[in-house]
């Protein structure tokens, strides 16, 4: 089996939260398969909302999103649910700021969660994984260089290692897309670079589309082919990372830049 990639297309997507707050306004975007896209914006700009609409964790209010052969619609349109929604999600991996591992179980069991969609219910219940699935999980751990820790408790790992286990969990899905919501926000600078390079390598070597929310401008510029700037739920910049100079960022942020906005030379690798 090959990792095949799929385009992501936003057509006039808006999200209004149940409390009436508008999270996204008329987003039109195409993310071609295999691209590495960074999303930047102030806190509350809608970065998480944007990323979470792609796997249906946040339902969209209007418009539509295509992910490969799947389509998510706004209210009134056909809703993707049940098995169809799970199939879409099985093609899209997700990495979280706080790692989201089950800390009391082993690293391997955490990575195997990426196989839950494909594993029969009785095997899941008994924890009797197929050898193929275990091998897939081990291969995923190999990519992030944590194989020796496979049978250790997830809680015994450092933050950086935990995030790499979370990345291995998405790889075990054999996904077309990986979404990462501020994956390095809880990590120190050197570890941040290790994790970002893992994502970059996965994008380059496996051709998996990577969409990553980033807080620090320098990280965003350095690790993404393309930058999307969000402000109050709208796209205010869309272009190559190299084109994004200080004035572009000041427009995205709506204020002048400060030292807080860059990870900086705190650890240059």
């Amino acid at each position: 089996m090959e990792h095949t990639a799929a385009d992501i297309r936003f057509s006039d997507v808006s999200v209004t939260y149940p409390n009436g707050y508008t999270g996204l306004k008329n987003i039109n975007l195409t993310i071609p398969a295999g691209e590495m896209v960074g999303i930047v914006g102030l806190s509350g700009a809608g970065k998480s909302t944007l990323i979470r609409t792609i796997n249906g964790l946040v339902p969209i209010t209007s418009g539509s999103i295509n992910v490969g052969a799947h389509q998510l619609n706004g209210r009134g349109g056909t809703q993707l649910r049940g098995k169809d929604l799970r199939e879409l999600r099985s093609n899209v991996g997700m990495v979280f700021q706080s790692f989201n591992l089950a800390k009391r179980t082993t690293v391997l069991n955490n990575v195997l969660m990426g196989r839950l969609y494909h594993s029969p219910a009785w095997r899941t219940l008994l924890g009797a994984w197929k050898n193929d699935d275990v091998e897939l999980a081990m291969a995923a751990l190999e990519r992030v260089e944590i194989v020796p820790k496979a049978y250790e408790k997830a809680s015994s790992l450092s933050g950086g290692q935990q995030q790499r286990v979370a990345i291995a969990r998405t790889l075990a899905q054999r996904p077309q897309v990986i979404l990462a919501d501020e994956p390095v926000a809880s990590l120190d600078p050197p570890t941040s670079h290790v994790v970002m390079r893992d994502l970059q390598r996965i994008n380059a070597e496996l051709g998996i589309t990577v969409v990553v929310n980033l807080h620090f401008l320098d990280l965003a510029r350095r690790y993404s082919d393309r930058l999307i700037g969000l402000r109050s739920g709208e796209v205010v910049f869309d272009g190559a990372g190299a084109d994004a100079d200080e004035s572009v960022f000041e427009n995205i942020y709506g204020r002048s830049l400060t030292a807080e906005d860059v990870l900086g030379n705190k650890a240059e690798l």
Partner: protein
């Protein structure tokens, strides 16, 4: 902070400080109500101090008998003693096995269907509100005198407790891994099994041991209404005023409960 207060005069606060709310009247009302309820309860059950004093003479002879256990009676208590133990073990095993899936259905964190959640919680609250001895009396009437009705009563009693405690620890558990599993395409049951179960397993095991301790004690009591074990024996010897024998049974229960409780407490400590 405190040093600046002592070294310089207090600066004028920028915003007005809210006044501390007063609860004086409410507290007084609560105390008055509590006293009233206590007096009402005392009158209701007719606490009759002179009668207690009069009975005391009678009681002393009984107490003296109770202080002299008839050790010769021991062999005859063994079957009932074992039955009590077996009832507790079987009820704990069946009760915990039933409780684990029910706990997942009874927690907001693991059951996404509001109606099913409300239904399961309602039934569980019903079960928990019935005292174990009442279950035993009803079941003795339905399935007859003996250990079976006792076990069934204990199972219901256990399900009530374990489901409550385990579903509460599920509610308090971090749902991050479950969210990740769902985002990877897992169904709710699979996500719960893979991401939530390992997190609450230690607390589940500890609840199971705790209910076992409760079962040892409860199984002696429910026997009084005919639901098997030492309780039936207690009922027998008591109705014939054989206090030396009653005394031995009480001693046995004491030893049993103490030994098993310390064993279980030791095990639970190893778990967490």
């Amino acid at each position: 902070m405190s040093t600046s207060v002592t070294s310089s005069p207090q600066p004028q606060p920028k915003t007005q400080r809210p006044t501390k709310p007063r609860h004086g009247a409410k507290s007084l009302a609560a105390v008055v109500l509590l006293v009233a309820i206590t007096i009402w309860a005392g009158i209701g059950v007719q606490v009759d101090l002179p009668a207690i004093a009069a009975n005391w003479r009678n009681a002393t002879t009984n107490i003296i008998q109770l202080l002299q256990p008839d050790y010769g009676f021991f062999p005859k208590t063994i079957p009932a003693l074992l039955e009590t133990l077996q009832m507790a073990v079987i009820a704990t095993v069946i009760g915990s096995a039933l409780s684990l899936p029910l706990a997942f259905l009874a927690s907001r964190a693991t059951n996404p269907r509001p109606k099913l959640l409300a239904g399961v919680r309602f039934v569980m609250n019903m079960i928990r509100s019935v005292p174990d001895i009442l279950f035993a009396s009803i079941l003795v009437a339905v399935v007859g005198v003996g250990a079976l009705s006792g076990i069934m009563a204990l199972v219901l009693f256990n399900v009530g407790i374990i489901v409550k405690l385990v579903s509460e620890s599920l509610d308090g558990e971090d749902a991050g891994a479950q969210e990740a599993a769902l985002a990877a395409g897992a169904s709710w049951p699979k996500a719960n099994r893979a991401a939530m179960l390992p997190q609450i397993l230690p607390s589940f095991a500890s609840q199971v041991l705790y209910t076992f301790e409760l079962n040892i004690r409860a199984s002696t009591v429910i026997g009084l209404v005919g639901a098997g074990g030492l309780g039936i024996l207690i009922d027998n010897v008591r109705s014939f005023f054989r206090y030396h024998e009653l005394s031995l049974i009480i001693l046995e229960i004491l030893v049993l409960v103490l030994v098993l409780e310390s064993l279980s407490a030791w095990l639970r400590k190893k778990l967490v």
